[in-house]
């Protein structure tokens, strides 16, 4: 098991380096970022900016500097807000994480019971309705779902605010929007892994022993069916953060996603880099933790 953990740790570190390379590349993808930032400026001004940003150095030198600074949380000053880019991102991170975690919780609260029930009562009305809902849910653009919810609940029925992130009522629509984005996939996973498990011998044994059906399903079967779900949750986290970027833009939620989208439009590279780097690092870390959790939950690996 130590070897397994060590391998995962090495992979984690390597991926961290890879994330830095890609984040670094964002600034240089265009060839000359200065020409992009100030296209009409005179040559002398450009040279000043180039020097200020350290762009005259060879790429490897720039990269090492980028990484050492990034490790200390220094991505430079935002071009537009007179503040360090990293601080801007950090300030908005709790909002984004709250939205993401709430949405994931909402998605699980729907996907777990419905997924289990539609596996247990296969081809029932509930199962068929769930299948239709999954298909619809996976085919809907997140931002459109959000706008349709605004149309119904904020404009038509006037029950909830159109946008913002100030009161509990303003949290509802973004959470439901982002949750609806991730629930279909989770439901699919729960249903299919549940279907796989309830056909197994040990479930039959449990039933033969006279364990109550409810106990068999929710205790015996679900604990084993949950294993694939744990892995998927890690991957889902990345998707959810991506979805959060869109959801924040739809509902004007003051989170990292909205900050990054705004920064991208203004070509505020330090903020873009800081935001993308931090979000990617969160995804990498979450996946690393999920890997560890998987080891802990799966006796086949734990006891080796």
């Amino acid at each position: 098991m130590t070897a397994f953990l060590l391998r995962r740790l090495v992979r984690f570190l390597v991926v961290c380096v890879g994330v830095s390379v890609v984040t670094f590349a964002i600034l240089h993808a265009s060839g000359d970022p200065v020409a992009l930032i100030m296209p009409e400026a005179p040559k002398a001004d450009r040279a000043v900016l180039r020097r200020a940003l350290g762009l005259h150095d060879p790429l490897p030198v720039q990269f090492v500097r980028f990484v050492t600074h990034a490790a200390r949380g220094d991505f430079g000053q935002s071009f537009f807000h007179r503040e360090p880019a990293f601080r801007l991102v950090l300030e908005r991170m709790p909002t984004t994480l709250t939205l993401t975690v709430l949405s994931l919780a909402f998605a699980l609260a729907v996907a777990l019971p419905v997924g289990v029930l539609s596996a247990v009562r296969r081809n029932s009305l509930l199962d068929q309705a769930a299948t239709v809902a999954v298909f619809l849910g996976q085919s809907m653009p997140v931002f459109w779902t959000g706008i349709m919810l605004i149309l119904l609940f904020a404009v038509h029925w006037r029950l909830l605010p159109v946008s913002g992130w100030t009161s509990w009522s303003s949290v509802v629509l973004p959470t439901v929007t982002l949750g609806a984005f991730s629930a279909p996939l989770l439901l699919r996973i729960v249903r299919s892994s549940m279907l796989e498990v309830i056909g197994l011998d040990y479930v039959r044994t449990a039933r033969a022993k006279g364990v109550p059906e409810r106990w068999v399903i929710w205790r015996h079967a679900l604990t084993n069916a949950a294993l694939p779900l744990v892995t998927v949750l890690g991957l889902q986290f990345g998707l959810l953060l991506g979805g959060a970027v869109i959801t924040e833009s739809v509902f004007a939620v003051p989170g990292v996603g909205r900050l990054i989208v705004g920064a991208i439009r203004q070509l505020d590279f330090p903020v873009v880099q800081a935001g993308v780097f931090l979000l990617a690092m969160i995804v990498v870390t979450v996946n690393f933790v999920v890997d560890l959790l998987y080891v802990y939950l799966n006796p086949q690996i734990r006891l080796r």
């Binding site: 390597v14 991926v15 265009s30 085919s139 931002f143 459109w144 833009s249 990054i260 993308v276 990617a280």
Partner: protein
Amino acid sequence: MATRVLPSPAVAGLEARPRARSRVARKLVAHPAAIAGALVLLAVAAAAAWAPYVAPHDPARQSLVRRFTPPAWAPGGTLAHPLGTDQVGRDVLSRIVYGARISLLVGVAAVAVSVVVGVTLGLVSGFAGGRVDVAIMTIVDVTLSFPQLLLALAFVAALGPSLVTIIVVLGLTGWERYARVVRAEVLALREKEFIEAARALGVGWGRMLLRHVLPNTLSSITVMSTLQVAQAILQEAALSFLGVGSGGTHPTWGQMIALGRDFVTVAWWLPTFPGLAILVTVLAINLVGDRLRDALDPRTT
């Protein structure tokens, strides 16, 4: 263009005997939802291809007197504009018809990029092994750790929004699934005795590829690429919703929804119909793709 997705079961059937091919066809036909999906897809593709003949109006023509005309069935609507007009009096239906062009084009082209890159890297990874393999699989890990949309957004912005940029960037963020499948197939094959025998007889890698690796992965690739077209369409819509669209003059569905969001209180039809267009198209592709998966998956036969 998207209709090309349909003949794939027959193509994938190349690996199987004729009887298996007809079984795949029969499985496909037995499902009305998949048929409906295929027909809708055909209709959308046809509308995109012959947009100038299908669209009732020039999508760019503005008319100040006809601003915010509601859909035909709503009070104040007119049959001349079945789905109403926008804030500068452009016909919503015509704009949706033209928008289908960009959605389908980006969807199919991005997936083509993904398949080419993924299959190539998968082959290299599998055949070369060792450090090359580790390097490529690390790249896969890294790409999977970024919120895909965010990465696409950042690079499209840095490279300057254009149709080609969007296609390439979306293509480069979705190839890892093909690389994994092809690599696994190559690794499995390398262990087989008949491959060793063939190699001993002097059969080259190129022939090995064409005869063994590609046929065995074709059905997975068909299914994955069909479903990825749906994802790519959603991603393109998200990018243009966020304002880093193709930069072209033609409207895209995502842009239309973004504009419609600003008028959500006065003109509900503006964000609603382009979204429905996306929903219907993507749903159709997903239905076909899902059925393809069931029909081609050897485990269920």
